[in-house]
């Protein structure tokens, strides 16, 4: 729909407005506006925060100050369990998105709850691990290696905790408004957030835990 009074040829009459795509949305495609790209760009900035934390850890990972080394404090079976939990939580969220696509509100809520519970298990196990470390004297203040370790891993855990909080809010809003197009947009953003956290965890379990034990 362009102006009808003037010639349509853009070379003769240049138009300077962006035609909105709203009328052509299918209704179940929550891609209106720039929200998805905007959230993605935020996620990239979050990735840079993690990049600096990884860089810091990389620089300080051998500064033990005569204190505990990775070999002494990392329990790989526990880390493997946590990794599995987070990976499964990614697939459960994937199932939630498929249910959303198919318009099944009940399915969305079920898989969101599953994802949230797995996320809570992940954070719980991580807190248990931190509690053990601190009880053994491997506190963040003990050495630069431990400071960097706790900062990196706890920042990731904090992100997961916010994700769980967000899941809770989504469950409330889904109960209120069902698969409203706005809710679908939010679920897509949460999807990107949740999968992004699993990507960061790949970096954590590889570079912190596995390489730490290998050294």
């Amino acid at each position: 729909m362009s102006t009808t009074a003037l010639i349509d040829d853009p070379k003769v009459n240049p138009t300077f407005y962006l035609a909105e795509k709203d009328h052509h949305d299918h209704g179940h495609e929550a891609t209106g506006g720039g929200t998805i790209l905007g959230f993605w760009i935020y996620l990239m900035s979050d990735a840079l925060i993690f990049a600096t934390l990884f860089a810091t850890y990389g620089v300080l990972s051998t500064n033990f100050a005569g204190g505990p080394t990775p070999h002494e404090i990392f329990e790989l079976p526990l880390v493997a369990l946590n990794t599995a939990i987070l990976l499964v939580s990614s697939i459960t969220y994937g199932f939630a998105m498929i249910a959303m696509q198919e318009g099944r509100l009940g399915g969305v809520r079920l898989w969101l709850v599953a994802t949230g519970l797995l996320g809570a298990a992940f954070v719980g196990i991580e807190l248990y691990e931190f509690g053990n470390l601190i009880a053994e004297g491997a506190t963040p203040q003990r050495s630069a290696f431990l400071s960097a370790f706790f900062t990196l891993v706890a920042t990731h855990g904090l992100h997961v905790s916010f994700g769980i909080l967000w899941i809770g809010v989504m469950l409330v809003q889904l109960a209120q408004r069902g698969l409203h197009v706005e809710n679908q947009r939010r679920l897509m953003c949460l999807s990107m957030f949740w999968h992004f956290l699993d990507v960061v965890w790949i970096g954590v379990f590889t570079f912190v835990y596995l390489l730490g034990v290998l050294r």
């Binding site: 009074a5 009459n13 240049p14 300077f16 909080l165 809010v169 809003q173 409203h180």
Partner: protein, 93 residues
């Protein structure tokens, strides 16, 4: 635009998509300022309180789904027609 030969349209106006006003940004900024102050001066109770406040206000704001509205096409047309008449009468007003 004028140097590239654009002419002011007088017909074919469409509804304009507008955001609603909200105080959320300013309120969150104020709370964040309190948080920053408290963190700098080690006032932990205030830091915790303002951090929680940030979360509460942000989440409460997400429950507001009434974020936008459209200026109807005929209102835009009426406004633009008034301007057309003004320009025709006053020239370069």
């Amino acid at each position: 635009m004028k140097s590239r030969g654009a002419e002011r349209p007088e017909e074919g106006f469409r509804p304009i998509h507008m955001p609603r006003n909200t105080g959320a940004g300013v309120i969150l900024s104020a709370i964040a300022m309190v948080l920053g102050f408290a963190m700098i001066w080690y006032i932990w109770w205030l830091a915790a309180l303002s951090a929680v406040g940030l979360l509460v206000v942000s989440i409460a704001h997400t429950f507001n789904y009434n974020r936008d509205y459209f200026i109807p096409a005929d209102e835009v047309t009426r406004t633009e027609d008034a301007r057309t008449r003004l320009l025709a009468a006053g020239g370069t007003a």
